[in-house]
């Protein structure tokens, strides 16, 4: 397997891990905040370097230079490929902009060391292929939000119940797969268990209530960090896509499509901003899942593009709502707040990221959404139009909330509500990506298309052919990595 020029992945995972340890011992809150920002920035720079290094190789997959895990455990645990290459910097970026947009006065509400630990887990997850390590990391990632809710004195039953079921399904499915899988066989039971686990983690209806509960009870920042990297979709790509038959994937796509429309409708019926964001995100995340499970190159390309655009735009959208909430408290959508004049930059950013999430022209989501619609309509000519319905409902919901929050009678606050400079940096970074990805979409789309074609090829090689057999060399190669 080709090798990167530096152990980017392992160092990028190590940095937030060490940062978590250091931040834990810093007593001064302001210093801890600064240390967290610099740790996240360093992790992002490393992931960016990794992506650039990987792109220059021109290969489908590669591993670290001086690979520590391979040397010690004789197992290639951390491998970058075309699927995970842009997801790693995206994950690091989400953490960076979230901590940048956290106001100093609100730093005490979320544990910075747990946040950095979550980042290390996320980066390790995105660096893993299907293996016990991936299963362990997916389960481990569910723990920090539960601890935070518990520390805040909130009831964790809804979240804990769903995540316990997710963990059990994941462990059960992967164990079953390890014990029973033979080359050339479709893993029905293991596939069903792993699929249900991935759907639960992605919040597909009716298994989505943990997500609304998380947004209600955890801090907004933690909730954003837990859901926006789309770890459930990653689990589906790594664990389900290579082993599930077409009909199973297309059934998942239909369930996800229903969730996309349902969540978009629910977003319109909400009376509070966090719940609205949760459903808006759920609708968009389900659209990504729809494309991923179509298992066609065009659908996959669209889904991979939308994955990145949703990650960027809805993180921006989420931190905007969080910024407003940090200043005035939780936002009711039952009446108009008239906040435009007091926070014009946040208002503009709200509209920009909101429009980007639904694929507005000249934003990062436009081409991806077009490809996704084309891919879905190709496979399901009739119900495929539900993607358009979901996007339209999301657009209406975003405009509805924009008018509720920023227009109406102006209510003057005693102090300035204007954006702080660290938030400004976060906003500018995301705006640059939203508009840059929209005005120059070709490199991103080409890279995602190449990844989609390779993934489709791999899937064809993994699953039984028409004669029921699987190429033996390929079967051995794709045997789970322990």
């Amino acid at each position: 397997m080709p090798e990167l020029h530096f152990p980017w992945m392992e160092v990028a995972i190590l940095v937030p891990l060490l940062g978590a340890l250091v931040v834990r011992w810093i007593r001064n809150r302001e210093t801890a905040h600064q240390a967290t920002i610099w740790t996240c920035a360093l992790a992002f720079a490393l992931e960016l370097g990794e992506w650039i290094d990987f792109s220059t190789l021109g290969k489908f997959e590669a591993h670290d230079h001086w690979d520590f895990f391979t040397t010690v455990f004789h197992s290639q645990t951390f491998v970058i490929d075309e699927l995970s290459a842009p997801l790693l910097p995206l994950g690091a970026l989400i953490y960076l902009v979230t901590i940048l947009s956290t106001l100093r006065t609100k730093v005490g509400r979320m544990s910075l060391s747990w946040m950095l630990l979550s980042e290390a887990i996320l980066l390790a997850t995105f660096s893993c292929r299907a293996s016990w390590v991936l299963v362990g990391l997916l389960i481990l990632a569910t723990i920090p939000p539960a601890i935070e809710m518990h520390k805040r004195g909130r009831c964790t039953r809804v979240y804990a119940l769903h995540m316990a079921v997710f963990s059990a399904l994941l462990l059960g499915g992967w164990t079953w797969f390890q014990l029973t899988q033979r080359p050339g066989e479709v893993a029905l039971v293991a596939g069903a268990l792993l699929t249900t686990a991935a759907l639960l983690r992605s919040g597909v209806a009716p298994m989505h209530c943990w997500m609304t509960d998380l947004f209600e009870k955890a801090t907004f920042g933690t909730a954003i960090l837990f859901v926006t990297p789309l770890t459930g979709a990653y689990a589906a790509m790594r664990l389900v896509l290579p082993i599930a038959p077409d009909w199973a994937l297309q059934s998942i796509a239909i369930v996800s499509l229903i969730t996309a429309v349902y969540a978009a409708g629910m977003a319109l019926a909400q009376q509070e901003s966090r719940r609205f964001f949760c459903y808006l995100f759920l609708s968009n995340a389900s659209l990504v899942l729809v494309g991923l499970e179509l298992a066609t190159p065009i659908g996959l390309t669209g889904a991979l593009c939308v994955w990145l655009s949703v990650g960027i735009s809805l993180t921006g959208f989420g931190i905007t709502l969080r910024g407003i909430e940090s200043r005035i408290g939780r936002i009711s959508l039952a009446d108009y707040h008239g906040l435009y004049e007091q926070m014009p930059m946040l208002a503009g950013f709200f509209l920009l990221t909101g429009m980007a999430s639904i694929g507005f022209p000249a934003t990062v989501g436009f081409v991806g959404m077009e490809l996704l619609v084309e891919g879905v309509v190709d496979v399901y000519p009739l119900i495929g139009t539900a993607v358009v319905v979901a996007a339209a409902l999301n657009g209406i919901a975003i405009m509805f909330v924009y008018f509720r929050v920023f227009t109406g009678k102006r209510r003057v606050s005693a102090v300035s509500l204007r954006i702080r400079w660290t938030e400004r940096i976060a906003v500018l970074m995301l705006s640059f990506l939203v508009l840059g990805g929209g005005l120059l979409p070709q490199p991103g789309v080409t890279s995602r298309h190449h990844a989609a074609v390779e993934l489709s090829k791999q899937r064809r090689l993994t699953l039984p052919q028409d004669d029921g057999n699987l190429p033996v060399d390929r079967a051995m190669e794709l045997k789970p990595h322990n």
Binding site: Y262, R330, H337, S416, L417
Partner: protein, 152 residues
């Protein structure tokens, strides 16, 4: 519709729709060149009307100020044939834009919102049941926290 609108923009918008309808008929009949000439002519005329509209309104106001009353509008020959009840009904129908907003609200928006509010209530019951306590903190938020809350 165009005749009963109370502002000039809406009036011109409906007038444009009339022309667009006629243009589509022309295209449907295969009269492509006529449609093309119609499109160009209509674009020029409507642009001129839109540009002229503000000053025309001002001229009317000046005229009415000068004579001290509203300008009288003689009924059209067709209008004189109709009873006043039909006049009023047509006026209201046009003014309310064919009651389209009302119909959409009653037949589409209201059932749609009701369904999702019902689904929301079901989800609340489900999470309350698992939590064994009221699960939604968002039920107790202030309507206008910006008026009372100090900035961060």
């Amino acid at each position: 519709m165009s005749r009963v609108q109370t502002d000039v923009k809406n009036s011109l918008a409906y007038a444009s729709l009339t022309q667009v309808g006629i243009i589509v008929v022309e295209i449907g009949l295969g009269l492509r060149y006529l449609a093309l000439i119609h499109i160009i002519g209509h674009a020029c005329l409507r642009t001129m009307q839109l540009l002229r509209a503000p000053t025309l309104l001002k001229d009317y106001h000046n005229l009415e100020n000068a004579i001290g009353s509203r300008l009288s509008h003689a009924a059209t020959p067709f209008g004189r044939l109709l009873p006043s009840s039909i006049h009023h009904w047509c006026y209201r129908f046009g003014y309310e834009r064919g009651f389209l907003d009302t119909l959409l609200d009653a037949w589409f928006v209201h059932p749609f919102v009701q369904f999702f509010q019902w689904a929301d209530a079901m989800e609340r019951r489900w999470t309350d049941w698992i939590s064994r306590e009221p699960s939604r903190e968002s039920d107790h938020i202030e309507l206008h926290p910006e008026e009372t809350r100090e900035s961060a």
